[in-house]
Symmetry: C2
Subunit: 714 residues, 2 copies
Amino acid sequence: MTFDTQHVRAVIERAKSEERTMLTPDEALAVANAYQIPVPAQQIANSAEEAASIVESRERPQVFKVISNDIVHKTDAGAVVTGVVGADAARDAYDGVVSNAKSSNPDASIEGVLVQEQAEAGLEVIVGGTTDPVFGKLVAFGLGGIMVEVLQDVTFRLAPATTEDAREMLDEISGSEMLDGVRGMPAVDRGGIARLTASVSQLIADVPQISEIDLNPVIATADGVCAVDVRILLDFEEPVQRPRPSQEEILAAMSRIMRPSAVAVIGASAEEGKIGNSVMKNLIDGGYQGHLYPVHPRAEEILGKKCYASVLDIPTEVDIAIFCIPARFVASVIAECGEKNIAGAILIPSGFAEIGEHELQNEVVEAARKHNVRLMGPNIYGFYYTHHDLCATFCTPYTERGPVALSSQSGGVGMAIIGFSRSAKMGVSAIVGLGNKADIDEDDLLTFFEEDPNTQVVAMHVEDLKDGRAFAEVASRVSKKKPVVVLKAGRTQQGARAASSHTGALAGNDRVYDAVLRQSGVIRVHSLNDMLEYARGLAVLPDPKGENVLILTGAGGSGVLLSDACVDHGLKLMGMPEDLDAAFREFIPPFGAAGNPVDITGGEPPSTYSATIDLALHDERIHALILGYWHTIITPPMVFAELLADAVERAREEGIDKPVACSLVGDVEVEEACEFLNDHQVLAYPYTAEKPVAVLGAKYQWSHQARMLDSPIG
Amino acid sequence: MTFDTQHVRAVIERAKSEERTMLTPDEALAVANAYQIPVPAQQIANSAEEAASIVESRERPQVFKVISNDIVHKTDAGAVVTGVVGADAARDAYDGVVSNAKSSNPDASIEGVLVQEQAEAGLEVIVGGTTDPVFGKLVAFGLGGIMVEVLQDVTFRLAPATTEDAREMLDEISGSEMLDGVRGMPAVDRGGIARLTASVSQLIADVPQISEIDLNPVIATADGVCAVDVRILLDFEEPVQRPRPSQEEILAAMSRIMRPSAVAVIGASAEEGKIGNSVMKNLIDGGYQGHLYPVHPRAEEILGKKCYASVLDIPTEVDIAIFCIPARFVASVIAECGEKNIAGAILIPSGFAEIGEHELQNEVVEAARKHNVRLMGPNIYGFYYTHHDLCATFCTPYTERGPVALSSQSGGVGMAIIGFSRSAKMGVSAIVGLGNKADIDEDDLLTFFEEDPNTQVVAMHVEDLKDGRAFAEVASRVSKKKPVVVLKAGRTQQGARAASSHTGALAGNDRVYDAVLRQSGVIRVHSLNDMLEYARGLAVLPDPKGENVLILTGAGGSGVLLSDACVDHGLKLMGMPEDLDAAFREFIPPFGAAGNPVDITGGEPPSTYSATIDLALHDERIHALILGYWHTIITPPMVFAELLADAVERAREEGIDKPVACSLVGDVEVEEACEFLNDHQVLAYPYTAEKPVAVLGAKYQWSHQARMLDSPIG
């Protein structure tokens, strides 16, 4: 579609010159026409006579609506009349709405009466655009009337959105079914709504001065759409542009930061208990193999390493400088780092924006920009990159290498990551503290992890995004290659935002986060424990090759709970082909249940577990396996664990690697069995049916959005 | 309100005599009148002339509706016309609807045209009654039209429901706000809807032959309600009555079963690996102090206990017989148990209904009824009652005494209960396997636990309820005294039920379970792990004295996650009084945040934790405390755990016992700290913010429903 952006700009310029932040109905109409937004025939009448002549010239009934910025709820005020036919009725209607408007608000300025062709009966929807402080321009779609007002049934996309994006939005709302016609109404023109939504998104993206658009209602019928009311708000303030290096620059700097050849510790200390001492020790104890340079004004040597008075004195190139000095000294050292061509300053010290010292933080940021040094932090525990034996932190070393990269904005969550990882023996590539995010943030990290061969899963704790749009852009790309799990904290603190449009008011922070994270292919979790478990589990589970999930259980009761969890997490229990059903029945007692779940019953020996697990692993129609083990004397927990680990191992050797998720119920021995299985890269949990299925569900969610599997589920 | 039940019965009798299962509109009208269900003025016309004369006699516009059981969607068929005024229009309308009806279905039998006064504009709601296979007579309320059809926004209560119950139903639906008026509509008459709902519930309860009622739509306005369409379906089949002993009989039998003075083991065995051997050993190893009588046809002595050939040979009274013999021998021994006046038979053997042997099970049930023996099982692991040192099971002994009683329908879940309890050191009063529930079921157990001084919390895994109404009745009573947690498995298997009314079709099994469990005051959980954690936590947390929850944290990040969780679980973060805010500020650094959460910041020594915790425990305005600990060198995990346990202990000694729930984030040492705290009766979890808040949320949910606190939340 081609849009007349020039014309819109001219309209906006005129409004600007008249210092208006809202377009008149005439102007809004012109903008709608320029962006092929269908609107009813309409004209403004300034007298009862004028109204009468307009009505006489039209065939369909007309709607009269007072034009006034001072009356918000026009219907309530009696300032709207529908179904006007004929000149007499037109005169009455004109006088009626104007007098009602005046009595509802005697001070209201009335700029005429809009005479508009009455839309055919149809489904009311709402399409709008808004400007979000985090994500910028957004487009919204929802069902109109009570659905949006009472149930807030609305969804968002970053603008501009494609028509395909818009079609997905139509499926996302709860009342989506209404678009297909209910109670004898015909299905509405989905394509028309999608095109309209895409046009609105293009409009708000093309013309940044448009802050909010409300098409409310849009009447959708089988034949098309019509925006009955168009409201456009303006904001001429220039948005603050956040400087953003190029993709290549980010990658170059981040690679030096995460895998440095030489590290300087500013404020290194020999004194036990000092942060500069802990950081030195962790680097050494963690086994860092690169150059390590303590920097201290007077010391000769710290922990056996030669000391330098300044980074400028260091003989080799240096990639990162870890700051262990008080906040007020940071800025001046940053300048030296720049001179030394250091890529990144790791700012452990607190005492910046988090305690209100914004100016001090700005000073550091400016110094860093000026000298081309990237900043991590301030107010962080540091970071780990295990595949380079780098523990650049004052916490304890973490050296269990693996494919999971994690970041946290808060130190508390960082400590939970370290503790959980150690306890669960989670293989980690990186753990990064982002703290105040004065510079480096999630999109920088994602850009690095995308290319990092040691990272296969990314999990991030986020309190706020400094640049939501940059994050969404990078996350959309990265999540197609590697699962990205996000715990967005503060989600229930719905931002109290001043908004003068419906769309704006509906864009409470969390709803927008939810929509944009989904659009970005991110797996959003709602609890810390889920973030940690998903991170661990996603790395363990191989990619499923298809939708078909089979539950195999020794306890009927577990089978029911596992089935419940499958439905909760959008997993598809495969329908059981007759031959496969018969094949399972070969191994299980006559009163056991084939079908899905396959219930091998509780009294069976290890051989029954082995035979049925082998069958499930080898049948190509089964794409993922959920196991429900039940503790019995005949097949004790460790026996089960060993036979399962062995079966999976043998299958892997044959090139078969399916996701296997296990729930073990039984006496405390099942804990040891789970540990054994997890050590053998088989996902297993004791005393829960929900958790293994939830993690498998996350894997499927990722597989679908990364388009590895054809169709989305559930 | 007084209802003319006699008249309704007469109407029903006539329909029965004519072998109809649906009332005619005239009959439905008569029933509605008898139960004070407001309906519009209406009359049946059999000719265009008759219709014309009816319309002429009325003032308001009329609706014409063809009467035919053969046309389901009358509006779609054009068999409904609205707004008929005047004799001419009446004749046209009559002919029109009849001819449309005939062309939509030429074979339709048409019994006339209903001429009905058109309702005023108002809000469409739906009120109905249905008969559920588990819960019997139910009443339903929902918003009409698309809200019920697309969003299935409907709720249920057991019938009869009081007007107060019905008022609660109005608040339960998602679109509840619509009742208060949106988009310029006035608020509707909530009282009128509630009274109507109560009347319908009374009607379906009074007249069991009425299987389904649909009042759809009911038009609600500010001034009242009017049921525009009344549809009543009948079912003359006599429902199967489940025999149910009196409350006193249940209690007498269950007390003997759970706390027996003498136990017989039928099929006791000296042979290792046999169930009859495991049961004997567990009874002995568990420390059972009563008489223990092995029963075996030949043995003299088993495990040092004198053997008897039959229970009839045992010299003392016997309370329970634990069956460890094959299924086919059970029935005959039950007869002997009856003769011996044994209260309960614990049927461990499988091989009954669960494998299709319904007849064998019925035989046992009949023998038991005949001989007045209660049955537990069959197909169970047995049961534990720790306060009587009774391990009547083939599993391992469990002897950690405490206030939590648990039951499971499946053996798998039973083993998870035992393993989790042991691992978490959960103090348990009873663990009971219910298996096939041929006789004893959840309501029998609840009746016992209600009076059992050793039980303070009940948690039940339920796959189906044999008698939902009996369960609801007992659970409503018990849950006012002790929290009852229910994990209803199989909840996603929406029963595919044949239903010929809207209300019936909406009553998918799980939606009804959900509504009735809520009505019964039960805390419903959706995962096995939640059931176990809630059971443990509810017993640890004392009852809160009020709504005010305070979060106290060493990590700002934890504070945000804990706040999120509070909103998720309906907890009210108290507004901070100025003096209390100032009192906290005395102890925390200037850049720390008072308010709620109180953020004492991460670098603080133990004394800051102690001082602020003491303050929170001692200020009477704070009713519950959530702690977010962050691992630091200055206040290590065990130091925190000890100071907290000490503070809580001191407060308890002073008579202050508030719920305290802790989230500990940090390195693996926090696990040990959590264990220490839990050992000291302070609820604590590592690596999660969600769990402690969820458990506290469950405690509040219970406190509210048990009316210990004034108003419901969330």
